[in-house]
Amino acid sequence: MIELPGTIDAETLLAVDVGSVHTRASLFDVVDNQYRLVATGRSLSTATTPLLDIGEGVRMALDQVQTVTGRRLLDEQDSLIMPSTSEGAGVDVFVATSSAGPRLRAILVGLTPGVSLDSGRRLAEATYLELIEEIGLSDRRKDEEQIDLILAARPDLILIVGGTDGGAHDSVLRLVEGVSLAAGLRPGSAAPRVLFAGNRQLGAEIVERFADRSSVSLAPNVRPGLEGEDLTPARNRLAEVIAEMHAAKVSGFDELRQWSGGFLMLSADAFGRVIRHLSTIYDPRRGVLGVDIGASHTTIAAAFAGDLRLTVRSDLGLGAPLPSLLRHSSMESILRWLPTDIPEEVARDYIFNKSLQPATIPMERDELHLEFALARQVMMTALNQARAGWPKDRNGGGVPWLPPMEPILAGGGVLSRAPRPGYAALALLDALQPGGISTLVLDPHGLTPALGAAAAVLPLVSVHVLESGSFVSLGTVVSPIGGGKPGRAVARIKLEREGSAPVEGEVRLGQLVVLPLGPGEVGKLTIRPQHGFDVGFGAPGKAGVMRVTGGAVGLIIDARGRPLVLPRDEGRRRELNQKWLYDIGALQ
């Protein structure tokens, strides 16, 4: 458990996030008694061949920060200068996060479907693991078949759950028996790691069962009592195990851990921590949503008054796993987002080429459209699957649009390098389909994991930087829930701003309207929805007045309907996609 210090003397913070494709360094310092982002550096990650050492990428990113700021961060031995010196070199606090490392394949072993197996699955799905098989007590496969299954699957990790603390004993040990035999049949270096997060009283016996067969780590029980699950403590231990497994294959993690005082977080955990923190600040009746679309993983973090639901999809990303998207989505569902005619075979080739060269970027407009179409489908797929793990009263009950979330924080390479804010905004609206009123916030510098990690040692940093201009508010979005015939009146709106004439008018179904309301500007919005349209004032057709803040795009009225229904006719659909890009300011 990490102690949060009440006050701190440290001022300068350096954060490094090592991704599978890029490594980012961010320097924060105190300006006018507030922590502010001073500079960022970005380099290609060097976690992969030929170097298999993250150190070089980290130093290249730090070198960029040094160049921009003139502040020396590394000494003659290329080590981090810490604490900072009176000459202004070095930093006071260093934090690090990572999502880089080879894919780790895991088998889940648990007692009961719907109980411990479900908790174990949620634990595995909240981090950088690829769950390839499950074995339960009610498994119909014979013991020897389970052994052959484990041998054939060649997992990197076996995650064992089951039993409340002081509860089930024999059944857990019986289940472990075959697993430990299988682990023992793999040669030493190929033996899987084991993490036991079940009945705490069985820890010693579990370690004994695996003895010299596998390295066993013990984690707090995911279901300590009958009343429910508690994944957080086990998640922390699992994160450590994953970090150790990555460090065994890629060099440089030990140095980062040393610089950060032994505290190297997984990026997804740090991302989730920020979202959970926000959920304790914002309206507890609504959730906070975080979406991070990376090259190798897509992270969906939803938090409801402090209850974090984290989902990490290692099979969904805009790099190496991109072809996996075709297992979840048809080509048609990807191409529907395009504003231009790109043949299916060209798009398919693009998907496979991008998986081979994940760091490349689109030079041409059509490729950019395709990249954003893929991003929409990846986010939509990941979100739909993540929602199944949200509390039943918060997941929208199966409606195809997103239940009210405030704010929606989005990050990831594709969104952060969007040529115009409207690109990112429209991709988020299409993919997430927020219902009611939300604020879209973009993390253009990939700071969220850094702030999550920093929150453990410098709680004020995350608070100050989240409120600063380092995160870009794209704007408030009003998305009336309802449908019907295109052109039907949806609502009358009136935006009043100090010093400006009010803007008033009627929006119709199918329209995407952006009203001028810049970053930091505040306005009073009056909405009178038509019968059958709900904007979140308590019931369909109910009018209301609210204070809205602007953003890089403006005040967005997304009257395209919820659920968003695109025309079946390809030509008409492309025209509309094109029009909406112009309407939201992505194209000019």
Binding site: L185, D349, R365, E367, P419
Partner: protein, 355 residues
């Protein structure tokens, strides 16, 4: 000052020292000796597969209690047995025994149960190229070294083989057709431009070819490519992409020589990459190729993405300021002098060094 940018590197080298690990999928026995000169087809290590396991219940088989059963074992953990061999017993007047259900090995004793590993097919590891054995761990991995030409690809269908290089003709941009594949190419490693239909790939199967090396195939051919019995390697990617001029020149310049095609797909976390190795007579000047080459003026590069995907050129300038592109993206870039196209500005992210 750190190198500011380390792009990926692909090797297209006329003569170098190639050092490669050959590894069994699980431990067995290395049969090659240190410093031994091996040929491509030579077996350098072998192992036995373990296709399945069976639990033998001694108590039930012998008709005794679970506590007594282990006392009747006549074989130990690790023992190899043949089908019908007695593992435990005899017990009682009926002289009940537990016998081996097939050839195999006793791998574990768990209470009154024996875990029996059924003996599988032997597997062998071949050298894959003429080389010298320079090291070995004795049980799983052998390191080979040879002077050779080397062409690294970007994707392969997972297979490996060895044969004589032949060209399909038509140049690096030619679409291969079935009529380009005649009986004279039987048993060869074929070099061609690109493929967008399955028929030529199947025709190559009929000719028993030892490998096909192309610039590209269309991605809809991936399932068919994965089923081919011979190695298929592509150098550029998926779509209709000509083979880059450097690789094509090197491969066609060695027509008639033997070549090893290792079409195992690349793994970003191991040193495995699809590649063609062309063993050459020993040369004193050859070096091991560089894996890390910072981007600098004069370095030869290849473009990894449209609109110049596959084009090879030289870095002429590395502007400090980011450039904007028709996509609207702003990115650090390099001026590349591309053969036949002149100077073009390309994002650094879309470049790899060709050595």
């Amino acid at each position: 000052m750190k190198a500011s940018y380390l792009p990926p590197v692909s090797h297209v080298v006329p003569l170098t020292i190639v050092r490669r690990d050959r590894t069994l999928p699980f431990p067995g026995t290395v049969t090659a000796r240190l410093n031994e000169r091996v040929q491509a087809v030579d077996v350098i290590a072998e192992a036995e597969t373990a296709p399945r396991h069976i639990f033998l219940d001694l108590a039930r088989g012998l008709g005794v209690s679970a506590k007594e059963a282990p006392g009747f074992l006549v074989r130990q953990k690790g023992d190899r047995v043949e089908m019908g061999d007695t593992i435990a017993g005899p017990v009682g007047v009926a002289r009940r025994t537990v016998r081996a259900p097939s050839d195999g090995r006793i791998v574990a004793l768990e209470g009154s149960r024996v875990l029996f590993e059924v003996r599988g097919e032997p597997i062998v590891l071949r050298a894959g190229m003429p080389a010298i054995v320079v090291s070995s761990d004795g049980v799983q991995t052998v390191t080979l070294e040879a002077p050779a030409g080397l062409v690294q690809g970007i994707w392969g269908n997972g297979r490996q083989d060895f044969g004589v290089l032949r060209t399909l003709g038509g140049g690096p941009a030619a679409r291969i057709q079935t009529d380009m594949l005649d009986i004279n190419l039987r048993g060869a490693v074929l070099v061609g431009g690109m493929c967008d239909q399955p028929a030529p790939l199947h025709q190559a199967t009929e000719l028993n070819v030892r490998g096909v090396v192309l610039g590209s195939i269309t991605s809809d051919l991936i399932p068919a490519a994965l089923r081919l019995p011979y190695p298929l390697m592509i150098t550029e990617g998926f779509g209709s992409l000509p083979m880059n001029s450097a690789a094509y020149a090197l491969l066609t310049g060695n027509v008639g020589r033997d070549a090893a095609v290792d079409a195992r797909p690349g793994d970003r976390y191991s040193y495995q990459r699809p590649e063609v190795i062309i063993p050459l007579p020993a040369a004193k000047q050859a070096d091991v190729p560089d894996d890390v080459i910072p981007l600098a003026k004069g370095v030869r590069v290849r473009v990894l993405r449209a609109p110049f995907h596959g084009a090879v050129g030289f870095v002429r300038d590395l502007p400090q300021k980011a450039a904007d592109f028709p996509s609207g993206l702003l990115a650090r870039s390099a001026t590349i002098e591309i053969e036949g196209l002149g100077n073009r500005l390309i994002p650094l992210a879309n470049l790899e060094v060709i050595q």
